[in-house]
Protein backbone atom coordinates (compact mmCIF):
# COMPACT_ATOMS: atom_id res chain seq x y z
CA UNK A 1 0.00 0.00 0.00
CA UNK A 2 1.01 3.58 -0.51
CA UNK A 3 1.96 5.89 2.32
CA UNK A 4 3.10 9.47 2.50
CA UNK A 5 5.37 10.82 5.18
CA UNK A 6 5.80 14.46 6.01
CA UNK A 7 8.01 15.96 8.68
CA UNK A 8 8.39 17.66 11.00
CA UNK A 9 4.86 17.88 12.39
CA UNK A 10 5.48 21.26 14.00
CA UNK A 11 8.19 23.82 13.57
CA UNK A 12 8.89 27.20 15.11
CA UNK A 13 11.47 29.24 13.25
CA UNK A 14 12.72 32.83 13.61
CA UNK A 15 12.26 35.36 10.84
CA UNK A 16 15.15 35.22 8.40
CA UNK A 17 16.04 31.60 9.12
CA UNK A 18 16.06 28.91 6.41
CA UNK A 19 13.40 26.26 5.99
CA UNK A 20 13.40 22.70 4.76
CA UNK A 21 10.29 20.51 4.89
CA UNK A 22 10.50 17.02 3.52
CA UNK A 23 7.92 14.69 2.09
CA UNK A 24 8.37 11.14 0.88
CA UNK A 25 5.99 8.69 -0.69
CA UNK A 26 6.26 4.93 -0.44
CA UNK A 27 4.63 2.16 -2.40
CA UNK A 28 4.27 3.85 -5.76
CA UNK A 29 6.43 5.08 -8.61
CA UNK A 30 6.40 8.32 -10.57
CA UNK A 31 3.74 10.04 -8.50
CA UNK A 32 2.70 13.62 -9.04
CA UNK A 33 3.69 15.54 -5.93
CA UNK A 34 2.21 18.71 -4.48
CA UNK A 35 2.84 21.26 -1.76
CA UNK A 36 -0.15 23.15 -0.36
CA UNK A 37 -0.41 25.84 2.27
CA UNK A 38 -3.43 26.32 4.45
CA UNK A 39 -3.91 29.52 6.41
CA UNK A 40 -5.97 29.31 9.59
CA UNK A 41 -9.67 28.81 8.78
CA UNK A 42 -9.00 28.88 5.07
CA UNK A 43 -8.84 26.49 2.14
CA UNK A 44 -5.82 24.92 0.56
CA UNK A 45 -3.61 26.96 -1.71
CA UNK A 46 -1.48 25.05 -4.19
CA UNK A 47 2.14 26.21 -4.02
CA UNK A 48 4.08 23.76 -6.18
CA UNK A 49 3.52 20.59 -8.11
CA UNK A 50 5.87 18.17 -9.80
CA UNK A 51 5.34 15.52 -12.44
CA UNK A 52 8.85 14.11 -12.25
CA UNK A 53 12.37 14.40 -10.89
CA UNK A 54 13.66 17.94 -11.25
CA UNK A 55 10.36 19.18 -12.71
CA UNK A 56 8.75 21.84 -10.56
CA UNK A 57 5.86 24.14 -11.38
CA UNK A 58 5.16 27.11 -9.18
CA UNK A 59 1.60 28.28 -8.77
CA UNK A 60 2.11 31.50 -6.86
CA UNK A 61 5.04 33.89 -6.53
CA UNK A 62 6.44 33.62 -3.06
CA UNK A 63 9.36 33.31 -0.74
CA UNK A 64 9.43 29.54 -1.07
CA UNK A 65 10.93 27.05 -3.47
CA UNK A 66 10.52 23.34 -4.07
CA UNK A 67 12.78 20.58 -5.29
CA UNK A 68 12.36 16.96 -6.25
CA UNK A 69 15.76 15.28 -6.01
CA UNK A 70 14.33 11.77 -6.16
CA UNK A 71 11.20 10.22 -7.63
CA UNK A 72 9.37 9.98 -4.32
CA UNK A 73 10.92 12.89 -2.44
CA UNK A 74 9.61 16.44 -2.44
CA UNK A 75 11.21 19.26 -0.48
CA UNK A 76 9.87 22.69 0.36
CA UNK A 77 12.52 25.30 1.15
CA UNK A 78 13.14 28.90 1.94
CA UNK A 79 16.40 30.79 2.32
CA UNK A 80 14.90 33.41 4.64
CA UNK A 81 11.53 32.94 6.30
CA UNK A 82 9.02 35.77 6.60
CA UNK A 83 6.29 36.11 9.21
CA UNK A 84 3.77 35.63 6.42
CA UNK A 85 5.17 32.15 5.74
CA UNK A 86 3.46 30.85 8.87
CA UNK A 87 0.80 28.29 8.13
CA UNK A 88 -0.07 24.66 7.79
CA UNK A 89 1.86 23.00 4.96
CA UNK A 90 0.57 19.87 3.34
CA UNK A 91 2.29 17.52 0.97
CA UNK A 92 0.16 15.37 -1.32
CA UNK A 93 0.58 12.89 -4.09
CA UNK A 94 -1.54 11.60 -6.94
CA UNK A 95 -1.18 8.80 -9.43
CA UNK A 96 0.30 9.86 -12.72
CA UNK A 97 -3.24 10.22 -14.08
CA UNK A 98 -3.63 12.61 -11.20
CA UNK A 99 -7.14 12.38 -9.92
CA UNK A 100 -7.50 11.76 -6.22
CA UNK A 101 -4.89 13.33 -3.95
CA UNK A 102 -3.54 11.63 -0.84
CA UNK A 103 -2.30 13.97 1.85
CA UNK A 104 0.38 13.83 4.50
CA UNK A 105 -0.39 14.85 8.05
CA UNK A 106 0.94 18.36 7.58
CA UNK A 107 3.53 20.61 9.15
CA UNK A 108 2.48 23.49 11.37
CA UNK A 109 5.03 26.23 10.73
CA UNK A 110 5.16 29.25 12.99
CA UNK A 111 7.58 32.02 12.10
CA UNK A 112 8.38 34.24 15.06
Amino acid sequence: SQTIHQWPATLVQPVGSPLSLECTVEGTSNPNLYWYRQAAGRGLQLLFYSVGIGQISSEVPQNLSASRPQDRQFILSSKKLLLSDSGFYLCAWTWTAGEQAFFGQGTRLTVV
Binding site: Y34, G43, V51, E99, A101, F103
Partner: protein
Protein backbone atom coordinates in the same frame (compact mmCIF):
# COMPACT_ATOMS: atom_id res chain seq x y z
CA UNK B 1 -9.97 32.83 -12.58
CA UNK B 2 -11.80 29.61 -12.03
CA UNK B 3 -12.75 28.81 -8.49
CA UNK B 4 -14.49 26.37 -6.26
CA UNK B 5 -16.45 27.83 -3.41
CA UNK B 6 -18.71 26.77 -0.61
CA UNK B 7 -22.03 28.37 0.28
CA UNK B 8 -21.72 28.22 4.08
CA UNK B 9 -18.61 28.44 6.23
CA UNK B 10 -20.19 26.69 9.24
CA UNK B 11 -22.90 24.12 9.81
CA UNK B 12 -24.21 22.88 13.13
CA UNK B 13 -26.40 19.79 13.35
CA UNK B 14 -27.79 17.57 16.05
CA UNK B 15 -26.45 14.07 16.44
CA UNK B 16 -28.53 11.69 14.38
CA UNK B 17 -29.70 14.32 11.91
CA UNK B 18 -28.68 14.38 8.28
CA UNK B 19 -26.12 16.97 7.17
CA UNK B 20 -25.93 18.62 3.78
CA UNK B 21 -22.84 20.54 2.73
CA UNK B 22 -22.96 22.45 -0.51
CA UNK B 23 -20.32 23.49 -3.01
CA UNK B 24 -20.36 25.55 -6.19
CA UNK B 25 -17.81 25.35 -8.94
CA UNK B 26 -17.29 27.69 -11.85
CA UNK B 27 -15.32 25.72 -14.43
CA UNK B 28 -17.68 23.77 -16.64
CA UNK B 29 -14.69 21.81 -17.96
CA UNK B 30 -14.08 20.18 -14.58
CA UNK B 31 -14.82 16.48 -14.82
CA UNK B 32 -13.94 15.04 -11.45
CA UNK B 33 -14.95 16.15 -7.98
CA UNK B 34 -13.87 15.02 -4.55
CA UNK B 35 -15.01 15.60 -1.01
CA UNK B 36 -12.40 15.64 1.72
CA UNK B 37 -12.72 15.66 5.48
CA UNK B 38 -10.12 17.45 7.55
CA UNK B 39 -9.94 17.03 11.28
CA UNK B 40 -8.14 19.63 13.34
CA UNK B 41 -4.38 19.53 12.87
CA UNK B 42 -4.49 16.74 10.32
CA UNK B 43 -4.29 16.40 6.58
CA UNK B 44 -7.47 16.06 4.49
CA UNK B 45 -8.86 12.58 4.06
CA UNK B 46 -10.74 11.35 1.03
CA UNK B 47 -14.46 10.76 1.60
CA UNK B 48 -16.06 10.24 -1.77
CA UNK B 49 -15.65 11.27 -5.38
CA UNK B 50 -17.83 11.63 -8.43
CA UNK B 51 -17.19 12.01 -12.13
CA UNK B 52 -19.04 14.41 -14.34
CA UNK B 53 -20.85 11.60 -16.15
CA UNK B 54 -22.67 10.77 -12.91
CA UNK B 55 -25.34 12.63 -10.95
CA UNK B 56 -25.17 10.72 -7.72
CA UNK B 57 -22.84 8.43 -5.89
CA UNK B 58 -23.31 6.74 -2.54
CA UNK B 59 -20.85 5.56 0.03
CA UNK B 60 -21.16 4.48 3.61
CA UNK B 61 -23.49 7.07 5.20
CA UNK B 62 -22.44 9.62 2.58
CA UNK B 63 -23.92 10.62 -0.75
CA UNK B 64 -22.58 13.10 -3.26
CA UNK B 65 -24.89 14.79 -5.72
CA UNK B 66 -23.69 16.61 -8.80
CA UNK B 67 -25.78 19.08 -10.74
CA UNK B 68 -23.83 20.08 -13.82
CA UNK B 69 -26.52 22.42 -15.03
CA UNK B 70 -25.99 24.80 -12.13
CA UNK B 71 -22.44 23.66 -11.36
CA UNK B 72 -23.26 22.56 -7.87
CA UNK B 73 -22.41 19.56 -5.79
CA UNK B 74 -23.41 18.54 -2.33
CA UNK B 75 -22.32 16.09 0.32
CA UNK B 76 -25.01 14.44 2.39
CA UNK B 77 -24.09 12.69 5.62
CA UNK B 78 -26.73 10.43 7.08
CA UNK B 79 -27.22 10.06 10.83
CA UNK B 80 -24.47 12.53 11.63
CA UNK B 81 -22.22 11.51 14.50
CA UNK B 82 -19.87 13.54 16.74
CA UNK B 83 -16.94 11.96 14.91
CA UNK B 84 -18.16 13.66 11.74
CA UNK B 85 -17.24 17.06 13.17
CA UNK B 86 -14.54 18.45 10.89
CA UNK B 87 -13.95 20.81 8.01
CA UNK B 88 -15.24 19.48 4.71
CA UNK B 89 -13.70 20.55 1.42
CA UNK B 90 -14.89 20.01 -2.08
CA UNK B 91 -12.28 19.90 -4.80
CA UNK B 92 -12.47 19.96 -8.54
CA UNK B 93 -9.93 18.48 -10.85
CA UNK B 94 -8.71 20.66 -13.68
CA UNK B 95 -6.61 19.53 -16.57
CA UNK B 96 -3.54 21.72 -16.70
CA UNK B 97 -1.52 22.53 -19.78
CA UNK B 98 0.79 19.64 -18.96
CA UNK B 99 0.12 16.09 -17.93
CA UNK B 100 -0.34 16.92 -14.29
CA UNK B 101 -3.81 17.44 -12.98
CA UNK B 102 -4.31 19.92 -10.19
CA UNK B 103 -6.93 19.90 -7.52
CA UNK B 104 -8.59 23.21 -6.73
CA UNK B 105 -10.11 23.36 -3.28
CA UNK B 106 -12.93 25.37 -1.86
CA UNK B 107 -12.53 27.24 1.40
CA UNK B 108 -14.23 24.54 3.45
CA UNK B 109 -17.27 24.18 5.69
CA UNK B 110 -16.89 23.55 9.41
CA UNK B 111 -19.37 20.89 10.47
CA UNK B 112 -20.13 20.77 14.19
CA UNK B 113 -22.22 17.97 15.63
Amino acid sequence: GESVGLHLPTLSVQEGDNSIINCAYSNSASDYFIWYKQESGKGPQFIIDIRSNMDKRQGQRVTVLLNKTVKHLSLQIAATQPGDSAVYFCAENLKSSGSARQLTFGSGTQLTV
